[in-house]
């Protein structure tokens, strides 16, 4: 749960609810009640996962198209939660990053507690050697080469992986740092995969 978002989301929800037709609210309320009745905790997947945080509530109530003002404010709130590495270094080892990008495990009821894989190839094209990649997200092939290797882009990559919602409130991508799925070193390694000039991604 992101406590920071709750006060604003309250306001946002009131605005959205006021605009929404009432029968849609009824069905949504019934859906949520039904799920809370029908589901049970299993392994690391507790029942609290059925609760929306503020951001999810706004995206659910706006069909992932939140009003501009609300989106901008909440994107700023999300940005304020990002913890950049204390040592100031945003790049790790691209070889370790490739392994993390390949691994799709983590956070399901059949996974053990602890850090997850990134599952990046599930949705993105990344390294040119991997032809089994998904297309839900954009291609990241030649990410650094195309965008530039500078510190601003390193920070952009780190931040996007840490919390994808900062630049697009209702993005389909998980918030890997925010949710604790990936730790600081893992995110650094993924940044290296995208941004290191010697990474296969940039060849």
């Amino acid at each position: 749960m992101n406590l920071r978002n709750i006060p604003l989301s309250g306001v946002a929800m009131i605005t959205l609810l006021a605009a929404a037709p009432s029968h849609a609210q009824d069905y949504r309320a019934k859906a949520i009640t039904m799920m809370k009745h029908d589901f049970h905790a299993k392994g690391i997947a507790g029942m609290e996962r059925l609760n929306e945080d503020g951001l999810q509530a706004v995206c659910n109530r706006s069909n992932n198209k939140p009003p501009k003002g609300i989106a901008e404010q909440m994107e700023k709130d999300e940005a304020a939660t990002v913890k950049l590495p204390a040592d100031g270094k945003l790049m790790g080892d691209w070889k370790a990053g490739e392994k993390i990008a390949q691994a799709g495990n983590g956070m399901t009821w059949s996974d053990k507690p602890g850090v997850a894989g990134g599952g990046c190839y599930n949705c993105h094209q990344i390294g040119p050697q991997e032809t089994s990649f998904g297309t839900i997200g954009p291609s990241l092939y030649k990410f650094g080469k195309t965008r530039g290797y500078g510190p601003d882009n390193q920070k952009y990559a780190y931040t996007k992986i840490y919390d994808s919602k900062i630049t697009n409130l209702c993005s389909s991508m998980p918030r890997f740092g925010h949710s604790g799925a990936l730790n600081e070193q893992q995110i650094k390694d993924l940044v290296a995969l995208l941004m290191d000039p010697s990474s296969p991604v940039n060849q």
């Binding site: 949520i32 029908d38 589901f39 049970h40 297309t135 839900i136 291609s139």
Partner: protein
């Protein structure tokens, strides 16, 4: 039952891989039309991967000797045998078309059942009949509801049998009753509900056309064309693990990957989702139990 089937599946895969292209093409197209999305060419350029190609060859060869038919036969026996604490068969089970009518019932569920004043999907109704007619306990049937190394649960075989009796018929999920319409609307809300550590809803992966996870093509279940995927090929013999699974399992494992807690077996939530997607797909032909990757 599992080991021999897996062996034959592997053998057929080898044969399929070696078979000349013509063998697959000779198959009559009309008899058992294939799932559309499995044939859809992935959009990105690296998409023609060997795994998908092999699987399609395998499916073409296996179509006429689908292991699912063995479970259909087992389900037929289970349907007719006197079983359970009450030593009764399921032949008086009402699947919506009257007691004992199995033919054509599967493509008309989920539907409203007046005797329970509820909407039920096929497997849920079969479980209901096992409880009310045969005296089995619902909580026992819910303990290990999915196929595993421990075996294939009876409701899976029974659902496969019932589904097979609708082969070649059009899906016609009723939306006349108020509770059926409500199940559709609630199902749509569940489909779009984002929550959990990854902010996923069903729609995150199944709400757009032409998307893939890795090389697996994702049907857009919010459209008429895509929604058929929740019916087509299910119940299905799944090559991963070599198990017979129903749509109840598919919904369960999707929620696992959505990083949600676990939905109850044959619960309202699953019925609502199946009503939403089933009604979306109405009018399209159901090809019977199938093979899944």
């Amino acid at each position: 039952m599992k080991q021999p089937i897996m062996l034959s599946a592997l053998a057929a895969l080898s044969l399929a891989t070696m078979a000349p292209q013509a063998a697959a093409e000779e198959k009559p197209a009309a008899g058992k039309p294939q799932m559309k999305q499995m044939h859809a060419r992935p959009t990105a350029k690296a998409a023609v991967d060997p795994t998908t190609a092999d699987f399609e060859k395998f499916r073409a060869v296996m179509e006429d000797t689908n292991p699912a038919e063995l479970f259909e036969l087992k389900g037929k026996e289970l349907w007719k045998q006197k079983r359970g604490p009450r030593n009764a068969s399921l032949e008086q089970c009402d699947l919506g078309l009257g007691p004992g009518v199995v033919k054509g019932a599967y493509v008309k569920m989920p539907r409203y059942f007046a005797d329970v004043d509820q909407v039920m999907d096929a497997e849920r109704r079969i479980v209901h009949c096992m409880v009310t007619l045969q005296g089995f306990k619902a909580e026992d049937l819910a303990k290990k509801p999915f196929s595993s190394d421990a075996g294939t649960p009876d409701p899976v075989s029974l659902t496969t049998y019932v589904a097979a009796q609708s082969r070649g018929m059009k899906l016609a999920i009723p939306q006349k009753n108020a509770k059926e319409r409500e199940a559709f609307q609630v199902g749509r809300e569940i489909f779009n509900y984002r929550a959990g550590p990854y902010d996923f809803s069903c729609a995150t992966c199944h709400g757009e056309d032409g998307k893939r996870i890795r090389t697996q093509v994702l049907p857009n279940l919010s459209t008429k064309e895509g929604a058929i995927a929740t019916s087509q090929g299910w119940p299905g013999y799944r090559l991963t693990g070599g198990f017979m699974h129903t749509i109840q399992w598919r919904m369960n494992d999707c929620f696992r990957q959505q990083r949600f807690p676990e939905p109850g077996y044959v619960s309202d939530t699953i019925t609502a989702l199946l009503t939403y997607m089933g009604a979306n797909a109405s009018g399209q032909v159901y090809n019977g139990p199938g093979i899944k990757r």
